[in-house]
């Protein structure tokens, strides 16, 4: 079987910790797996921890942007956490600003962001 990045369910969110340097097919498989898992679990948030990633090039950057875009359509919020400073500097110089994706410094803050979004949308549902 093909190698896959594990996806964990944590309350209303999905947690992905990328711990290997992904080749392109592995990155595409993750995009597909996450999309299916959002639908299957009804998750409202996706937390992607990239603190172990030593580089994000244009391909991986685009994959992260795609995940955020697809999740949004499926009513789940994506938060990217733990980007290394050297990776952030390089990404901006490369010309990729990941404008479509929310970021947080660590997993704890990222989970808080997702919890807030879920609460806000649940509250507005109650008001209708």
């Amino acid at each position: 079987m093909d190698e896959r990045i594990p996806i964990l369910k944590l309350g209303k969110a999905l947690l992905v910790t990328i711990q290997v340097d992904m080749h392109d097919r592995l990155a595409l498989a993750l995009e597909e797996d996450l999309t299916q898992k959002i639908v299957a679990t009804g998750a409202r948030g996706v937390l992607i921890d990239i603190s172990a990633l030593e580089i994000v090039d244009s391909f991986i950057g685009r994959m992260l942007d795609n995940i955020a875009g697809v999740s949004r359509i499926l009513d789940a919020e994506t938060v990217l956490v733990g980007m290394q400073p050297a990776v952030a500097i390089t990404l901006v110089e490369l010309g990729l600003n990941l404008s479509g994706i929310k970021t947080a410094l660590n997993v704890e803050r990222g989970m808080k962001m997702i919890a807030q979004t879920v609460r806000a949308s649940d509250d507005s549902d109650d008001g209708e």
């Binding site: 580089i55 110089e93 490369l94």
Partner: protein, 132 residues
């Protein structure tokens, strides 16, 4: 590590291997973490370009030393179709494939030296270097 070596680039797994080799060379040359990251990212863009557009090829890696400065030079060589209009290919957002079109222009911004030569029907050679 030897001063010069050649590695094949045929698949996306090779691109991962290239990243790790370039990382090791960057560490050997004494680059800072930010400079390592920039150089590895540039190499990743060029290696992937080669898999997508150049039908694969090879990368030569060379440690440099000049007037007490250390550096690394990489040459990406393919026998692919070649690039008809290099100026256009260097522009951000230009792509004939499925990418973002940041590969060549982006890679150039991440390095100190960048040269590209291409001959239609014969292939392309991109050379980049970064100094400590």
């Amino acid at each position: 590590m030897t001063a010069s070596k050649t590695l094949p680039i045929r698949s996306s797994e090779d691109v991962v291997r290239i990243r790790s080799e370039v990382r090791n060379a960057s560490i050997a040359a004494g680059f800072s973490l930010v400079d390592q990251t920039k150089f590895v990212t540039a190499a990743s863009e060029l290696a992937r370009n080669m898999v997508i557009y150049g039908a694969g090829g090879e990368m030569q890696i060379e440690l440099l030393e000049s007037a007490g400065r250390r550096g690394v030079r990489l040459a990406f060589i393919d026998q692919g179709p070649g690039i008809p209009d290099i100026d256009q290919a260097m522009k951000d957002g230009f792509t004939t494939g499925t990418g973002l079109g940041l590969g060549l222009g982006g890679a150039r911004r991440l390095v100190n030296e960048f040269t590209i030569e291409s001959k239609l029907g014969h292939g392309t050679r991109v050379t980049i270097a970064r100094w400590k």
